[in-house]
Amino acid sequence: MDYFFGLKQKKLIQTKNISINYGSLILKFPEINLNSGDQLLIIGNSGSGKTSLLNILGGLISPNTGTVLLNDINLMSLSKNKVDNFRGKNIGFVFQTPHFIKSLTVNENLKLSQYLVSEINQSRINILLEKVGLYNLKDSNIQNLSEGEKQRISIIRALINQPSILLADEPTSALDDESCNNVIDILTNLSNENSATLIIVTHDKRLKEKFSNQIDLNDF
């Protein structure tokens, strides 16, 4: 992946002075500088703007001030279509509640994600399904899966197009301890294997001891 992003010493993610306004409320965010393959946990209570920060990093919303450089590309300067395309190729998302196309099977959902930005690669789907231990559910309807299983599939979906950045928004909040550990292990291992930079935002205290690199929005 390194060649894709040019010189290694360049930062993959760089933010500067970003803030967003909700009416009279102005949320300011700390600077984030991450290299390829780094992992970062952002902790914050509800209302601290952690989801907003993640959405800004993923190009889903624009900040009122500041810049976001992803591999030296300024997201705010791209057109809507280009942002969609850039996001599809370079950024994977995992949300608290995973959503899929209900009318499709597990396999079809993953194929659709590949189809939307690149080409269908069944062997990659198979390998990832094996890794999370859900290969046997490949042809099940997505609605028949448990929440924990769906969350694991959503991690595969986020990584299916080999993005350089994986953004996870409260990926474990809805899960019990066992599933929580399982999902975090999969998230960290798979992003390592795919050399993707992982950013998790959460208020889930269980994750605190699992990451060395942390930002607490409550302190900011």
Partner: protein, 414 residues
């Protein structure tokens, strides 16, 4: 993949998709049915009407005269004396003047007393096997009658042109010839000489079997009654005339209509009037079809908009996963296309099937061959228009879909 997605999206909601398709296909069905019926009717009527330039019969309704003697549907208006119209057979403007006498039937097939010109000149029919009738009681049958009777068979005619309980049991007809199929009404007829008809009814009269007749049949034979008393004046039901010269059109009807007992009718004019009479009913059908079509359009829009709202998160997830608004838009339009396609195809199949069922009923009752297996170019246009309408109906839902604000949708739920 996107085709599959659109397909799965509509097929996973069978009830609401089904409703849209049912509405759409019903309207298509009505359109197809109305168009097939009116087209085939015009075709058949005009075909048969063009065979004969003028029908001369007893006074009554002109349309009835034509329907009875050209299309063999309605009851006769009454009888006329052969001698009153005989002059036409020698008229210079007349190419053909063929007398026919009705009154009996065999299993819904009318027995027509006439001469050989009826077969060779008017319908240009030829023999498949056997020969033309020579003696009284010999008959030639049309190709569809040949499904029930065969060469050498003899049968008893029943009295009246429709179904009747009374049969002429002592008078047997013998099939001596079978005609090739022509696609015309003659395929449904049993043709014999005028003498046959006169003989059978002459005998009947002597036995006093008039008591058994229905009122219409009684009317039909009232003049026959008089004929017996006025020493064998020959009667016919109608005279079918083909012109020799265009001038005939202006002179002959005038001559006929001056005579008290006679009336003439031009089949082409009567049929045009009949179709003009039916046209408003057909137009109402079209209007109804258009109304259902409008409803189905509405239903498609509502179905898809609801579907979009239910699939809000799916759509947003696709956007997050890199799907452009273009892809989202196209996939929704595709859903409209599928619904339009299915609706039009199902509608066509239903329309044709229903036409075929109706046709067998009409064939049985009126001996008119309608068919559900006739296809028209307009149907291709109909399919294309319906698909287009389906896609147009999907535009609004598609706009709803691509206007979802990703961040807002995510914020509401997550």
């Amino acid at each position: 993949m996107i085709f599959k997605l659109a397909w799965k999206n509509i097929s996973s909601r069978p009830l609401s998709t089904g409703l849209s398709i049912v509405l759409l296909s019903s309207s298509i069905m009505v359109i197809v049915l109305a168009t097939l019926t009116i087209n085939q009717m015009k075709l058949k009527f005009n075909d048969n009407a063009n065979k004969i330039d003028l029908v001369i019969g007893a006074k009554g309704s002109r349309l009835q005269l034509v329907l009875c003697n050209v299309f063999h549907i309605d009851y006769p208006t009454g009888n006329i004396f052969m001698e009153d119209v005989e002059f036409l057979t020698k008229h210079p403007f007349v190419r053909n003047a063929v007398p026919i006498s009705l009154g009996d039937a065999y299993q819904q097939h009318r027995i027509i007393g006439t001469n050989k010109n009826f077969i060779s000149e008017i319908y240009k029919a030829t023999l498949e096997k056997g020969e033309l009738f020579n003696k009284s009681s010999e008959v030639v049958i049309g190709s569809n009658v040949a499904k029930k009777l065969n060469l050498g068979n003899s049968f008893i005619g029943s009295h009246g042109v429709g179904e009747s309980l009374h049969q002429h049991e002592d008078f047997k007809y013998l099939v001596v010839g079978v005609l090739k199929p022509t696609g015309e009404i003659i395929d449904e007829l049993i043709i014999t000489s005028l003498e046959s008809i006169w003989n059978v009814h002459h005998d009947e009269y002597k036995k006093g079997s008039f008591d058994l007749k229905t009122p219409e049949e009684h009317d039909l034979h009232q003049s026959e009654d008089e004929a017996e008393h006025s020493s064998h004046k020959k009667e016919i039901t109608a005279l079918l005339v083909n012109y020799n010269s265009p001038r005939a059109k202006f002179s002959i009807p005038g001559i006929i209509n001056k005579k008290n007992s006679l009336m003439s009718a031009d089949p082409a004019i009567e049929i045009k009037q009949l179709i003009d009479l039916i046209q408003p009913a057909v137009n109402i059908l079209y209007f109804l079809a258009l109304f259902i079509f409008g409803l189905s359009l509405f239903s498609i829009i509502i179905t898809l908009v609801n579907s979009m709202k239910d699939r809000k998160y799916e759509i947003v997830m696709m956007r997050v996963g890199g799907a452009s608004v273009k892809i989202i838009f196209i996939s929704v339009i595709l859903e409209g296309l599928y619904i339009g396609f299915l609706g039009s195809i199902i509608g066509l199949v239903l329309g044709h099937s229903l036409m075929e069922i109706m046709a067998s009923f009409i064939n049985f009752k009126y001996h008119y061959k309608f068919s559900g297996f006739v296809f028209d170019q307009f149907e291709i246009v109909l399919i294309l228009i319906t698909i287009l309408i389906g896609m147009i109906a999907a535009i609004f839902p598609a706009v709803v879909a691509y206007k979802f604000d990703i961040a807002k949708v995510l914020k509401n739920k997550i």
